[in-house]
Symmetry: C2
Subunit: 289 residues, 2 copies
């Protein structure tokens, strides 16, 4: 790939992750069998994927009140047990596409809460996956990215159970945990840490950083609201100039001036088609330089 | 306390700790009732305490084979369940003076091992308390002060349960835990840390350091083989010139030359009499300066 002037290289780990692929596969099959299916929220945080699914009869219900039919698919991000109950209370069937890595985090949160730990989910409190995982702690916890969260609690829990949103940056989670060790480890204190960052996130981040170290420009393809895409952008930006683009149209030709080596990576919800469109536009722009 | 030339001050937390006092009280009561009693190993790591107890009929059995009578007292350092079994198998009754803080560490080790954790006891592998605590992990663990111990293991455990000898330095334990977080926290890894350093150790160390910061010489009174006494010496030596003495006789008059402020602290097994003897000798030497 590339022109005489410019080398363009994809990261070795790119495209839809296992969990998103699996969720799309399940929903496509049901849509094929039934003609249509609703998903609770977008199946993936990616407009292109959502539009492709819409074309085969997959509709998005904004929330539980918005569900019209008798069956709804839960996305790979998962939901809390309370949300599941609320759906079942309306006699709506659930097709569960929760990613196995997210499920592990949910089970970890439940196990820690049941054992008497105050559960700390290292992650974005507004993110659907994090809300779901925290829901499994049955109200006995908090989701935060702020290592000083303890200062805001009414009482200091003696036993802290710590896990992570599956798409966080491992080194940041480790730093967060070390700060908690420093600030909370005292007589009889207990810290139970479970590293729930998924394998796919680790591999994707590692390959993105490896490429960013060689490139003089990185493009991260994905939704501006996707958690894992934003983490990729953050990591690459620490190494070289980096732009997040959701579609090929967002690429500005000025970014390519005087570049020799452009690296491409993409979020876990970014389809192959979008990646190919970005590559095609880069090739076209490169020819025009 | 002190002369015109020299100020001598005791640390605010000094003398026998709760656990050792409790053990001595139990054994003294039994010796009084029965005329004599054996202890498995020395009741406290302090020759003066052992001699005082010997005078009222308390004998030291070196090991289980060395027990002559039908009853033996386990020291405040505790023993492993296997050692207890071995004693009971010989139809010898046990008087258990295990310190409640050590018992908590033993229960923590047992709980972690039963939950499938590889137990890491941060402590001196040759110390009687540490051997006992590790025994409660039923062979599923290691005792070490070396944060690189993982490199020597045949296989890397995914789940690590970490606790501490009750008399270690809290800041050192925290540092050890942070190194383990750095080196072991990866996909699905679990770290369950229980801070089993006792309250008495924390208070004694804090008051020793506070005093050492003001003094130009620190004397730490206690056995050269006592774990907590050695930790106190280590801490004070990081602040000012420090000597460990077991008895008043060990004080060298040359240490006192040009001193203005001498601080005194003592290990958890050091009796009041020994502390008073050290103070008396210091006063006497100070007058001669």
């Amino acid at each position: 790939m590339g022109t005489d002037k410019l080398r363009i290289e994809k990261a070795s780990e790119i495209g839809l992750c296992f969990g998103v692929k699996r969720a799309i596969g399940i929903v496509e099959k049901v849509a094929h069998e039934r003609g249509s299916i609703e998903t609770l929220g977008a199946l993936a945080h990616n407009q292109q994927v959502v539009e492709k699914l819409a074309a085969i009869g997959v509709k998005v219900a904004k929330d539980i009140d918005d569900i019209c039919g008798d069956t709804v698919a839960i996305s790979s991000h998962g939901v809390s047990p309370k949300a599941e109950e609320a759906i079942r209370a309306r006699h709506i069937n659930i097709i569960d596409t929760t990613c196995p890595s997210v499920r592990r985090a949910q089970i970890a949160a439940q196990r820690l809460a049941k054992s008497g730990f105050f559960v700390v989910v290292y992650g974005d409190a507004d993110h659907i996956e994090v809300k779901g995982v925290l829901g499994w702690a049955d109200g006995k916890g908090i989701a935060t990215l702020d290592e000083n969260f303890m200062a805001k609690l009414d009482h200091l829990p003696r036993r802290l159970g710590i896990l992570s949103q599956t798409t966080q940056i491992p080194a940041h989670f480790t730093e967060f945990v070390k700060r908690l060790v420093d600030s909370t480890l005292t007589k009889d204190a207990e810290l139970h840490i479970i590293d729930t960052i998924c394998h796919s996130t680790r591999k994707r981040q590692a390959s993105a950083i490896k490429l960013a170290k060689k490139a003089d420009l990185m493009l991260v393809i994905g939704s501006h609201t996707s958690a894992n895409t934003n983490r990729l952008t953050e990591l690459c930006a620490g190494v070289t100039e980096t732009h997040l683009v959701e579609t090929a149209e967002e690429i500005q030709s000025s970014w390519l001036e005087d570049r020799k080596y452009i690296g491409i990576t993409a979020g876990a919800s970014t389809g192959e088609q979008t990646i190919n469109e970005v590559l095609a536009r880069l090739e076209a722009l490169a020819k025009g330089l």
